[in-house]
Structure formats: C-alpha cells, structure tokens
Amino acid sequence: MSSLLPRLLLAGVAVVAVWESVSSLRPPRIEDSDVRALAAAVRAAHQPGDLIAVAPAWLSPLIQRELGDLMPVEHLARADGLRFARISEVSLPPFHSSDVQGLSSDESQRFGSLRWSRFHQTPVTVAFDLTEHFLDATVSQRVPGTDAIERPCLWTGPLPGTELPGIARGGFSCGSTRSERRTMEIDYQPRRGIVTELEPGQQTLLRFSIPDEAWQGTTLHLWLGLHDYHRRKQAQGPATVMVDLDDGRAKKELTIDVQQGFVHHELELPQLRADVHHLRIELSAQSAPHHLVGLHGELRR
C-alpha cells in the first residue's frame, strides 16, 4: 500500500506539466492582425497634430511600422505630452502612457490584447521652443572665471533638412567639441533636444534672443540630462548649468547628475518690457570628458 504523499506529489506535478504545456501551446502574444486592425482605426480617426502615445515602450516599433508616418520624431521624442490637445493611446493593459496620467478617456476600444483610447486635454501654449530655434542661437566658448574673450562656435555641415546620405549632420563646432540638435538618448528614452559636448577647461554658452510677445506671461520649462549611455558610463561627476535671464536680471544654477533622467525644471521669467529678451545657458563640468549635456526648453503659458 503506497502512501498518500507520492500520489499528491504526482498529481501536483501532472497539473504543473499540463499547465506549462498549454502555456507553451497558447502563449501570450501580440497578434499582427490586432496591430493592423488597431492601426487602421487610429489612422481613420487621426487629425494633424494628434499625438500617438504607446505603452509600454517596447510595443512602439510595431505601432511605428503601421503608423510611423503619423509619428514624427518630434512626437516620439517629446519631453512631455502637455502641448497636444488630442492623444491616441495605444497600450497593452494595464500599462498607460505617462502622457495621459490624470486624464479620462473619451473612448476606448480593444483589439485582441491591445487597447486604443482617445484623450482630450487643454494644451499648454508653447510661445518659444529652444530646440526648434537652435539655428537662431549663438554658441560660443570661454574659459570660466576669467575675462578671456569668448570663442565663437561656427556652424559646420549641412543645415537641418538638407542632409545627404554619408554626410554627418551639421552643428556648431567649438574646438574639438560640438553642439547639435538631435534625437538624444537620455535614460534610454528618445528626447528631442540640443546636445552639447563639454570641453575640459571651457564653458559653452548657448544664447537665445526671444521676442517680447513670446516672453511675456510665460515661464521657462527646461529639461536636462546626459545623452548617450556609453558616455554616461564613463562620465565622472555632475555637469553645471547656469541659466541667465535678461543679462543677469535673474540667474539660476542647476546641476545634472550622471544617472539622472530628463529632469524638468520650471523657472519664472523676469517680466520686463523689451523688444528682445536674452536667455543664456552656460554649460560646464569640473570633469568635462564624456559629458554630453542634453537639453530642451520651452516658454509656456
């Protein structure tokens, strides 16, 4: 007469074996037909300027394959989703995009394991976008803490939109380093912005001239982080960012730690009347090598 224990164990093993076999035969999967059906629905309802947000991020290549023409790099690499009035969220429940946090969906539809939800919000107004106006910026370098004359950084390479295969993108060349507009990788996510490689012993200055109508009634939103994980792995110590508003009327020092993400800062602007206002961003680091400072800024109201 055998004991109960082996029989119970045998039954337990059999249950697990059957469960695992069924799981292998019918595993969770993202069906291509669901992706295509969802994409057709999103495309039919899409209006210019809509944001298509995907969660979790690993799904994005599948959605971009179908809807990439509606998902420009400026959308995919956004700092946040507050400037978009309409958001189409494609998600694998229970995931949600951070862009729709706090919003309630107007409509939701399931396509197999995927969900399409539509959201509306009152968007912020972006009066001035530093990344968009990068070509209008003045870039220079100087030795910090001295009266040495600034060294201008001159544009080299093709202008944005005129690049050719085999030709590297254009940017402001400052000695052995560059400042350029690109899709950055900060915290392993795409971020559209301006990358400035810091040079030892030098401070890089980015100057923007901003019209009064864009300045009045707005606040400066600045996102900062370090671009490129290969370089972050080797970078030592923080980078320093000095934000100078209207030639010293207001100043704010910020730091960028190596492992931080794309950190958001909101700065009040001095409200003076002038035809043109000046925003100067001074970038430096005690240990400059491997610091590729990534920034994006907007004047929002």
């Binding site: 093993v13 697990v16 469960w19 595993p27």
Partner: protein
Amino acid sequence: MSAGVKRARWLDIALALLLFCATTMGLLLASRSQGFARDEGYYFHAAEHHAAYYEELASRLSKGELRALTDRALIDRYFSYNNEHPPLLKTLFGLSWRTLHRCNCPSEPGQHALSYPKRHRTLGLLTNGEAMRLPSHLLAGALCAAVYLIGRRSFGRAGALCAAGLTILAPRHFFHAELSCFDAPVTAMLGVTTWAYLRAQQTDKKSWAVLAGVLFGLSLSTKHNAFFLPPLLLGHALWLRRDLLRGEASDSRQTATRRVLRYLFQPWALSMALLGPLVYLLSWPYLWFQTVKRFTWYVGFHLHHVHYNIEYLGQNYNRPPYPWHYVPVMTLLTMPVVTLLLAVLGALLWTLRREQLIEPLPSGERSGGELPLVLLSALWPMLIIMRPGTPIFGAEKHWLPSVPFVALLAGAAVSYLIRQTSRHARHQAVLGPLLVGLVLTPAALSVWRSHPYGLSHYNALAGGPVGAANLGMNRQFWGYSVRGAMPFLNRALAPNTPVYFHDANWFQLRMSQLDGFLRRDIADAGMEEPGVVGSRAAMVMHEKHFNKYEYWIWDAYGTTKPSFVQTHLGVPLCTVYERPSPARGGQ
C-alpha cells in the same frame, strides 16, 4: 556477473548511445534555422586558423620536418587571434569544418578567414556553419549520455531518462548547445568530468581517476569556468572520504601521516593536478612560448573583463554591484517550470526519503556521495555568479553548468514518484513511461516554442516573452536575431545596398552569406554613427542600452517608420529601416 545484470548494462549503454545520437541529431537539425551569433563569428574566424595550423603542421611533419613542432612563428600565426579564450573548441570547430564542409572556397574570396586557392578535399556532408557547429552538438549529446549514466546508477532508469531529457530540453541550454560557442560545451565538459570523478569515487579504479584528469584538462581548454571545478570536487571528496582519516584498527602499519596523505592526495586529485595542466598545455600551443606572460595575460583579461550591459527588471546593469537575486530570478523565469519543481522535490526527497529512491549498490562498488555532489554541482555555478562583483552580462549562460545537475535532481523526484506511487512492478512499468512523457512534454514544447529565439525565451511564470518584456527583462544579445530579418533584406534591397547591421558583426554575416542566408552583394556599411549615416538600410537589435542606435537611424533617415519588424510572439527583436528616396527637385 549474472546474465540479467549483463543485459541491463548493455541496455543502459544502448540507451546512453541513443540519447547521444538523438541529442546530436536534434541539435544539428534545429541549428539549421538558428541564426549565427556575434561571438560565433569570432570563433569561426579563429577555427579556420586553428585548423590551418594542424594542417600545416601535419604536412611539415609528414615531410620529416620535426622542427615544425617548436616553430613559434607557425604557432603565433594561427593562435594569436582570439587568444583570450583557450583553443579546444575552436580547434574542434575548425577540424570539423575542414573535414565536413561542402567546399567552394576558391570561389569565395574574402569570405573566409584565410585564402584558399584550391578546393579542400572534404567529405562534403555539411554546410560551413553546420560543420562548425557539429562539435558542440556532439558534446551536448555526450553530456546527456553521461547524465543518464549518473542517474541510472543513482536512482534508476526512468528517472535517469528524465534527467537526460530535461538536461537538453531547457530552452536556453538548447540554444547555446546549437552554437559554435563555449558555454554549452564547457557545461558538457564539466558534466562528463564530474561523472568520471564520481565513477572514480564509486569504483576506486585508477582508470576513472586518469580519465577525470584528462577530461579536466580538456575542460580547462574549453573555457575558464573549469578553474572553479576543483574546489567543488575537493570539498566533496574530503567530506566523502573522511573515514580515511580515522583508519582501521587492524591496519596498524598506517601512520597518521600516511592516512592524511592518502586522504588529501586521492587518485583523482593527483590525476587532475598532474594530467589536467599537462593536457591543457599540450592542447594550447600558444602557451608553449612565453608561458607565464601569456597565461598571466589570459587570466588578467578575464579578471578585468569589460562589464557589458544586461537589462533586468527594467534597469540596465553594466557595472557592479549586481543584484544577488539576478541568478535565482533568471533561473526561475527561464527554466521549464516542471524541471524546477521536480528539482526542488528531488533535492528534498533524496535527502529525506533516500532509501525510497536510490538504486542498490552494484557489487564491488560503493556510494560516491551522489546526492551532495549533484546538489553542490547544481548550486556552485550559480553561487559564483551571485557574488555582487561577478559580471552578469551573459545571463544564464554563465551558470549553464548547473543545468545537468538540476535535471538530475528532477530525475530523482521522478524516480521516487514512480516507485512510491505504486509498489506493484506492473503498475510501475506503465507509470514509468507515462510520467517520463508527462515531464518531458512541457520542456520539449518550451524548446519548440522558443526556437530559434532561445535567448528571448521566458517561461510561463514570466508570462512568456510578452510578460518578460513587460517586466523589463533582457530580450537578446549577440545580434543573433538578424537571421530573421535576412529574408526581408534579400527580398527588399536593391543590389549592393550598404546596410548598417548594428550588433551583428561582419564574421557572422560572412557565414550567413557563405551558407546562403544573406545575399552576397549586400554590404556592411560599417560601425557606429558613421555606419548609420552611410547606409541605405539600417537595423537595430532591441536591447535597452541599444535604444540610441534607433534614434540615430530616425535622425539620419528622417523617418520613424520601419519597413520590417522581426518579432517573437509579437515582441520586437530586430527592426529594419530603409532610407526614403530623396524627393526630386523641381524643373
């Protein structure tokens, strides 16, 4: 020896051979659809060099030129490349290739590591890649046979068959066993060395001790993991043979010193200490000159190895300290669940109900301390990697030597269940095959489901690859998923298109072209951002730290819309972009 015992022995030898052949053939057939991996590319290149060395050496020796044996220039020419890894497997890959590949070498300039103006005389049985990979398949087959024999001697035939089956029917082990790499082969070498050691303990025969020493040398020549084996075996042997210290009252001639010497210098230990290094040195001609300098460099390379990246629970790790739980969690999420469940049961039952599952000792043999050896061998490789300073970028491949011993513990549980569920021999005869089938089915299905993306496999506990992607687990490494994109590239690209191949290196692409998986006119555009900028098509293999490469492509191509996404169960592995044609200017 009775006729029954003889018959049983022959049956076991036949079953071991069957397991060897089935595993080898299974891997050979499956590997035809398995993409070449990045590191394989380097070893293919080295393998041709090693084979060329032995060919040239044999040629010169056949002409009576004995000095060729000590010709440093000859050795350095063929062994300098990839000398951060010992040579045994690369040599076997090379000799297998040299003997078996279907040769069109003279018409393949630039596609081989060396130039071949004349066709090789070969058996012409396999493609280049198949011939290179065959030694790995044979070693995995040998491991399954050895696992069967360990299990058969310990707890009987049905449990042993399960253990052998579960050894190879683990998706990640199966994947590595398909490749011309070292991780599955060193798992096999350590497994068979441990078997030989165990037989030396069980039988007290010098021949097993000698074999253990030779196999240990070959293990060292396979991969540096082998350096971690002696402490394990020594600890086990000192515990097992502690009776030697006490001595027999009747044996008054033995002094205490002699007893201690016999205790410490057991035959297997002497054999491993003497034959191991000798075989190691003989197999690696590169160490015949400047031995200390070159060996020190080799050790230093691995002590100061670059910490590559691995994603785990949403975080990218590329420097210590690493989380200690990486090893148990990865094991829990990648091994077949039924194997893990049975292994835990097996360890408990073997400890608590030993007499209900072990086989009677064959005459003339003694217990070899099987349970502690199997348990230690299952845990030791994991414990080494759990140290916070040990790199984890290779994921489970670095503790793969645990797998056969985890499978042996599972086999012990199966043996117990068959024997104790019913005491009737007739019932056991029916239950045995049924239970073996029941246990092997989910493991086999998980291998089938994961192929050819074994590195992307996660089990039902993780929710499969989709669940693992949600958890933020690494999806792949070594750029092997490029193979899934090759049919698209062959179909879609214009002649002579330069392609940015991202993590796939030129050597693995070269083998893909040689074996007809990738069109030979497709060119590699080069590495890093200049490669992207100069390409007409570009791909990215999805690993967390590789995201930036996709952003480079968006910027360089002015589009975020890929042409093709290679998926496994809907999870993107490799995404291909094509550069849009420039718009024509107005007239």
